[in-house]
Subunit: 326 residues, 2 copies
């Protein structure tokens, strides 16, 4: 495993270094300082690394995919900045959000600017069909907006089905993961079969990643997570856990979960009580199974590809995400 | 003049018809309904018509420039939706703004979605170098963000020089007008000389247009303007008029203008008093001269182009903008 992890860290360092140089200008300082703050905030850089590995698995050179990878990461950060305004989130990855550290207007502008810079970076890509690449990227922008819109709609609804939840999260979170692989495939010159395989891999990985995010909110260690455990429960967020629990709960359990979903549950002891219900109903185990199944399906999808370093890295990558603690 | 005006209206109808079909999807309705509302809001469609006419003046076919024109118009509307949030503007073109009619979160999302749709439409363009075209467009996104950022910065400053004002407005408003001509030139296959000429034309027209906006706020008829006269004065907006008046005012005039700039002037009778100062200091005339000079410079720039229908339409277009009442 160590050699893979080392390579992952190398690629991540490449991305971080490039992200640090994306914002070249200094003025207007009220916009560029927070923009730089956002891009230097660290993170797992899952999306750009997927772009690079998918490119490699398709037979291309990871270096040709750096710009596209950085572009997807900037796009991802743009969505975080705007979502944090809409969600009134005060912190992100253990740091203040832009609208908290500066103000809301600045956060709106910084998000817009980041989208511009995402395209600017993408347009440096020299391999692959630029029109196809930019179209896939642009569909990503639109789908992510749809996902966030559904997410906000669902906040005002007491009932959301598991299918609706998976549709929403597939757009809001899964889509950028999926297009990362698709863009890598385009740059790497993948044939139709490989492109489909890489897309399927990324769809499965993206879904597993999101369900795990929901799971970690409940079962993770607070320090490792970098934010308070149970935040989703307190916010009444319609997570995979809450949505599936609402499907099977009865009696008092159902009553409590409904008040959580309607965001008027008494907060004292709430996280422990809801976690206990989740455990009793088996939704934590079912989430774990779902993550595991999706990870296996992701790895199976890669069978359509030839054996190469990129392929092996993608297998490792899916396992790594499965075992993460935050 | 009539034949030109008729052609302008024809082109505008083409743009309006295309804008009405940009948003194909219905769901999530909370996002797509306001997005459609924005794009169906009318307007002079100056930018898309410039894209088309510049393309024609460069020797191309207006039809090849429709997608790019619609893209710039969508981009322009995206900036309006987000700027209106930041400026707490309740109405726009006589209609409620998105964040007023719906809410702020929806307005953020609708703006983001519009940017995605702007690129999606742009990518349908089949003539011209797509990379060059998308780069010019993307620089537009970034410059517009910078312009809005400077505009917000200037709100918190008591003194802004004329040069700073022109720099800011060149980014915030002028840039999209300028790139409209540049994009048309790229699609029409303009040589370097024609491209430069069209860009210069649009820069001058854009500046004249903005100074006239500032002027109309004070001298227009309220009904024709579609919003209350003197709104900029009440908001303490650093317009061309206020900035140049601050440069030459003394004594009580200067004191009053400074309270306007600091946004703590008493509102009663303020618009009339400030308008009277503007008149007395000659800033209204100097604005008119500036608009006139820029319009003439725009038309002179076109001399580098051959004589054709597009060229003649651009000359008419500059005059039409000069004579507009709102």
């Amino acid at each position: 495993m160590d050699v893979y992890y080392e390579r992952y860290n190398t690629l991540r360092a490449v991305i971080d270094a490039r992200l640090a140089t994306v914002i070249e200008r200094q003025c207007p300082v009220t916009m560029y300082e927070p923009a730089r703050y956002v891009l230097n905030g660290g993170g797992k850089r899952i999306r750009p690394i997927l772009v690079m590995l998918a490119c490699e698995a398709a037979g291309g050179d990871v270096r040709d995919a750096i710009d596209a990878g950085v572009a997807v990461e900037i796009l991802h950060n743009f969505t975080l900045v705007h979502d944090d305004i809409m969600d009134h989130a005060a912190t992100r990855r253990g740091r203040q959000t832009v609208h908290t550290k500066w103000d809301r207007n600045i956060a709106i502008l910084v998000g817009d600017l980041l989208m511009g810079n995402a395209y600017k970076t993408l347009l440096n890509t020299e391999r692959g069909d630029l029109r196809a690449l930019t179209r896939v990227f642009t569909d990503g922008v639109i789908e992510v907006c749809e996902g966030q819109s559904y997410d906000k709609e669902f906040e005002h609804r007491s009932a959301v089905s598991e299918a609706e939840y998976l549709m929403m999260i597939g757009k809001k979170t899964g889509w950028l993961v999926a297009i990362s692989a698709e863009m890598g495939a385009i740059i790497g010159g993948a044939d139709e079969r490989s492109r489909t395989a890489l897309l399927e891999y990324a769809r499965c990985v993206g879904r597993a990643f999101q369900v795990q995010d929901d799971l970690l909110d409940v079962v993770a260690d607070e320090e490792t997570l970098g934010k308070p455990v149970g935040g989703d429960i307190l916010e009444g967020k319609k997570t995979y856990l809450l949505v599936t629990a609402l499907d099977s709960a009865t009696g008092e359990d159902l009553d409590l979960l409904q008040t959580v979903a309607q965001r008027n549950a008494p907060r004292t002891g709430l996280v422990d009580r809801v976690t206990e219900i989740y455990r009793r109903l088996g939704v934590l185990d079912s989430a774990r199974n779902r993550i595991n199944d999706d990870t296996q399906a992701a790895i199976r999808a890669l069978n359509a590809l030839g054996d190469n370093e990129g392929h092996r890295m993608l297998v490792w990558f899916a396992h790594m995400l499965l075992e993460r603690k935050h």
